[in-house]
Symmetry: D3
Subunit: 242 residues, 6 copies
């Protein structure tokens, strides 16, 4: 039997904690941990929308992802100092934004904008999936903040569903759930799965880092991912007190 370095079973998440309302400045926030990965997610609510969207009665949700320079084992130069954002940062920011928008009914949100910031304070694999999972909690609170102040209609339901995300991968031929950095670098295939609380797929991104994979492997990864997202959905509900 395959044993994982941290003693987890193959379909088990790392310890997950969600500190809801970590920030006293943001309209919604959560400090989420997937094991050693810690991401501060804040949601900034502003009444009004970007000019290109004005007058359509619809809201806007977008996201930005970044890592502190020493979130990782070696210090990386700041993107602000380099004067440009790297491809990986861009890619993850876009992914988080798409994932959240997939569960937002922008008409129900009304002409309001919510900007999600996911800043990785410490990284140990799965930073993008932790970001999406924590961002949903922050987003949810920001919407309630807007509702309490009358920016969002009392009876509107801007969140059609919840959203969570998890990584899966094949290490030495064995599919596993929620890879820490140590496993991630050894994975032959690596996949990120984003799902709704009700169990449908929002995004599936699988990449053969070393060896192409077949349909049977893909199916096994999707099953693991569905299990992990369901577990995260339960934790989100608990954090949100539902």
């Amino acid at each position: 039997m395959t044993t994982r370095a941290d003693g987890r079973s193959l379909d088990e998440l790392r310890p997950v904690t969600i500190e809801r309302g970590w920030s006293s400045q943001a309209e919604g926030s959560a400090l989420i941990s997937f094991g050693g990965t810690r991401v501060l997610c804040t949601a900034s609510f502003t009444n009004g929308v970007p000019r290109w969207l004005t007058g359509q009665g619809k809201g806007w949700v977008t996201a930005e992802y970044a890592m502190l320079p020493r979130a990782t084992n070696d210090r990386s130069p700041r993107e602000s100092v380099k004067g440009k954002i790297g491809g990986r940062t861009h890619e993850i920011s876009r992914l988080i934004g798409r994932a959240l928008r997939a569960v937002v009914d922008t008409s129900a949100l009304g002409e309001n904008t919510i900007v999600i910031d996911c800043d990785v304070l410490q990284a140990d694999g799965g930073t993008r999936t932790a970001s999406i999972t924590g961002a949903f909690v922050a987003l949810s609170d920001a919407i309630e903040w807007g509702r309490e102040r009358g920016y969002v209609a009392k009876k509107a339901t801007p969140l059609a569903d919840s959203v969570a995300a998890i990584s899966v991968g094949i290490i030495d031929g064995t599919p596993m759930l929620d890879l820490p950095y140590e496993e991630d670098v050894r994975a032959g295939t690596d996949m990120n799965i984003v799902m709704t609380g009700s169990g449908a797929f929002i995004e599936v991104q699988g990449t053969a880092e070393q060896a192409p994979f077949d349909k049977a492997e893909l199916d096994r990864l999707l099953d693991l991912g569905a299990k992990g997202c369901a577990d995260l959905t339960a934790l989100q509900k608990e954090a949100l007190g539902r």
Copy 2:
């Protein structure tokens, strides 16, 4: 029965042409068309590798993707003028590089570098999948160029397999192959599939643009993608005279 605007059946590619050797400057090149999408792919072979890879006996393959400003229906500002590369450009460049590296045996390539440039001259959907498919042809010729000049060992097999890519999507509930722009904007789910010539997956990227999708839909999209990639593999072989 669903009829497509251009009269194709659901699992049919648009007309594909591959003008191999279009450039007289590059070591390998192909002007590939998927319907109205036209991408110039060039492969630049240089002996030697970046400093961080020196002395390991391994080669390096990387890719850059870009669109001419008037490739699309409306003119976009040049990224060189804006002074930064957009997230989409970054993301696709990284995808093309990963897709090609998945079939390259860098030890067999030896300490040589191949840079692939995919410049979209005209865009009508599927520019990233056309880029990957055309890039493989250019890459293949650049490797032969290196072999003829003795940079690549006579009997080495740097290409473990071929690689091709196609888009699939669900329009009004119906899964379809190879979406032109007009269909792409209407797609509820959009997926790009990258496969080896022998039929294994290299990359699967599916996104619910409008409605989350279920496992059955995902399976149908994967089948369509496999069919499309197989057709493209045949066209690549033909272009390469094999």
Copy 3:
């Protein structure tokens, strides 16, 4: 007698082809070749002018020039990746814009903007002169496009004349017309000449790369340039079906 590597006489152009309407996206376009130099010229027509010109009843024509990274024998880094535009690119973009504006009656054009993009797909000397010559064809078609849709007045004559350009130079003491890259690098003096279809000068840029030149040499270069521009004017007329 001086023999040129490609067998041309001293006052003979390389083979010139103009594929008018190459792009199905742009309002005007031409893929022009001067021997191995190939430039895709597109003209983007938009109704309205930049804010600083609004309300004066005048139009605006501007141009941007760029080279694909592997247009040349060695691959150059992309300016978008470097995050800045080089001096040469800037200089040529400005030259193309000035050359076109010299034959445009902006009052007759009305409050419309035409942006010309000249992207060098393959470079073998004379890319700026090929760009100007091809850009005129694209511009001409874009104006007709605007006229057909009523943006340009039926009887207006926004084009006061045509414009074409050619390079000339002195190689080993001998003045010659239309230098390919191989001759260009050997030229002691290098000159670009932009002329109207009716034979007047729009721009004369002569540079002593190696040895200062005298008035007699300058006169001979101007004569050669006038001959070349006249030949190009005839080819433009043919391409435009006049």
Copy 4:
């Protein structure tokens, strides 16, 4: 008597907490709070020095400061997205580096580099002074880390003293210690004071935001600052277990 909104006396610090070793990645770290201001300070130790310092037997200490976009009441655009670092960020990064270097004996440090990152997770006034105070704790631990691994000599004393910093200001004519944001914006004069643990000045920066100040006011501010720095020095010692 002047009453402060939070009930503090004029020469009293806000509640200060120092979570030493917050990061499991960095060689030294501290999450420091001055009331609602929270700064994550990490120290990255690397053996070796920048090229310009090589071979002199001296080490190097430098610092970078940044704020998360939603550290403040309104979200600020990311400097990485804007592509440039603002003047305030530059200024504070330089101040932190100077303050730390003032107590470092670079010869005793040996040819090692320590980069301090101060990332403001939440801002409520005094972010630069909290950064300096927390950075010293992180720096101290990073030096011990280097000593344990033999990069720093067993008996060397790279830290000649400790360093702490605090803000002072004049609000409605009354000098006060440690201004939160609310007081900071109302201050007529604002001063940051950096001192060694033994009570000498490293940096004094006083600015008349509204009204020029006289020598008597300056003296009173310096006294308050000395008191605050002494209190912080005690807290640093406690955090470091000395």
Copy 5:
């Protein structure tokens, strides 16, 4: 007794010259010299204010500082070529702006904007203090320019006071006034003092470059600075013909 290389006494300024009205383009200007340091200060007056200030009846004064590449003994790369402004430039620009605004009554200025440019043509220590001192002269003339044209009210007093600045420092234990480059690099403590014409402090910035300083040293430096600023105030008055 300490002798200075240039024979000055400890509290003596270098020769100071102020060529008022050096520029025939700017609304106010002064070429100021502190010994070998020469700064061209121009003040650009425009009627109106930035959008964020519109409608409040207040004016705006801001400043930009820069050095010519060969102002110093070794040539520095241009910040325009590097594509970013360094921390030192930012810091000094902000300092100059703050210093000037401290004596400006923006309500009396009315909705007008004055931009001060301080360009260091030659640098020999004290460039920021020479900039502030010269900028005041340029600012003063620009305000009169505006008054003559009716942009500033006839009886308004936009300048509440004058402003001048000087550097002081401790070299080999001895406090001295107005350090040229040669002394500046040897200073253990370095301080810049900005004062009003009436003798109050606007800004005090003292930094221990090598050794922390105590209160007695600080007091001595402040006295020297006050003396120097008073001398400069007299020279400003003379230049302005008052």
Copy 6:
């Protein structure tokens, strides 16, 4: 007869002054005035050449041009603040470099680098021609500086000739020499002419700003330019004490 606003005859230069050795920092310098146009030219001499030129026994001369923000009648934003260099700046920097290199024998210069900076302190037309003319004086002195220190061989002749430049143009049909800003904006054709001291052409750049020009006009402009360059050559000789 055409009368010019400043009373000059058609072939007369504005008052030209050359303050040689204006800078005490640079190895060569000149503050040159063409009427109201004032340019500070410095030449920075360094022993050694850029890496790409090392070991060939040849030197390198390059130039950078810039304008102070308030050199002109309206203040322009700084290129350093904008983060990019404009096309005009690039173009003129390249022109100055080419012009100087045309009279430099890089083998005689030896492996030394000279960087010329031309900073326009005040602009009133002809800034690029004043820059070239003044730069030659600075360059000449920098070479002598290198010779005195033994970097340049005693008997070497790195300067094959001198170089000067002047603008000419056609205003209301009349060709004129040395256009101030006021005439420049009215010019139908504008030409910059760079010549050697011995009367040969280095660069000829003529542009029809409003109306195309014919060969007769071109000839008249070249004659005027030759006259102006000869006058400037005499002034350079005088400044250099030859």
